[in-house]
Symmetry: C2
């Protein structure tokens, strides 16, 4: 019986176990991945996001954001994003690349309807997130469905890196290869 | 007496406390930031790195890597990198932008000399990190000074985001403004 990190299928199963747990469990490492994007100026950006959905069968992830945030502007320019999770107890780094589609309005009405009232204030900050303000309280939060955006990510590849005691193992899984794995030098 | 997160100087002091602790303490959140870069193809990339130095007076960070890693190739193309730290106990997200200079050879001899023998194997993987290999053990690690690279980062700006119970506070500090702060809408 091998450990999960000794086989390519074991590692991919663990990746999806982590992502799925992240959606369900606010304390799981994959709850708060880092999303990296490229700005219109061609500069790298990274920030914490909340993972709202992860579907293995559809190779899909979902993130919610304010439509007026910088990341949305960046994704308009370069729709490819990188997601990063470090699952410390599993000694596993998950990296994935996804093409992000920005969904708003009627398309996301059902998702908006399911968001608790108390959380809706995260969408609809005035002025827009990142705008210079006079002091720390010079902004307002008010739920605004028109400012609610769903980032719908189609995963193109996943890379898993396990830091084992004796061996580091690194595998690349590609959508266009039917998610078969390829060992990489770590 | 205000809390550290209520003032711009308090937040910047906390940022540097976190970064400094990351260098000294392997368990500190800033020990393992996420480094985001842009590939030669213009795609975002993100991976965990180890923070090796953080000097407030010089506005400098330092990361060590294998010269043949993908991040070095990306930095040759786009030297600006983004660093991300989530300090969970402080409820503080640190984001910074740094221009990375890749130093090798004689320039980094003193740094190389200070690296314990047991850690030098991290620099000198054959084939190069990220190369497809036949199975999980089809690579070799051998300390190789010529494969050792220091990423010397000159910080251009730092953004601090504190997630407080009643208020989220976000401040941008710019090198070209003498590190004075600017409140941003969170």
């Amino acid at each position: 019986m091998s450990e999960w990190f000794e086989t390519q299928t074991g590692m991919l199963d663990e990746v999806w176990r982590q992502l799925t747990r992240g959606v369900a469990d606010a304390k799981a490492p994959a709850r708060h991945p880092v999303l990296a994007t490229v700005s219109a100026d061609g500069l790298p950006e990274a920030r914490t996001v909340v993972l709202r959905a992860a579907e293995r069968s559809a190779a899909r992830i979902e993130i919610h954001t304010d439509l007026n945030s910088a990341k949305v502007a960046s994704l308009h320019h370069q729709p490819m994003a990188a997601l990063h999770v470090w699952a410390s107890k599993a000694h596993l780094q998950i990296r994935l690349a996804a093409r992000m589609t920005i969904r708003t309005g009627d398309e996301v009405e059902r998702i908006w309807a399911a968001i608790p009232e108390a959380s809706r204030g995260n969408y609809g900050v005035t002025p827009a997130p990142g705008t210079p303000i006079a002091d720390d309280r010079a902004f307002a939060r008010a739920p605004d469905r028109s400012a609610f955006a769903v980032l719908d990510g189609q995963i193109q590849w996943i890379e898993a890196l396990h830091l084992g005691r004796d061996l580091h193992r690194r595998v690349l899984y590609r959508a266009d290869a039917g998610w078969s794995g390829q060992w990489l030098a770590p």
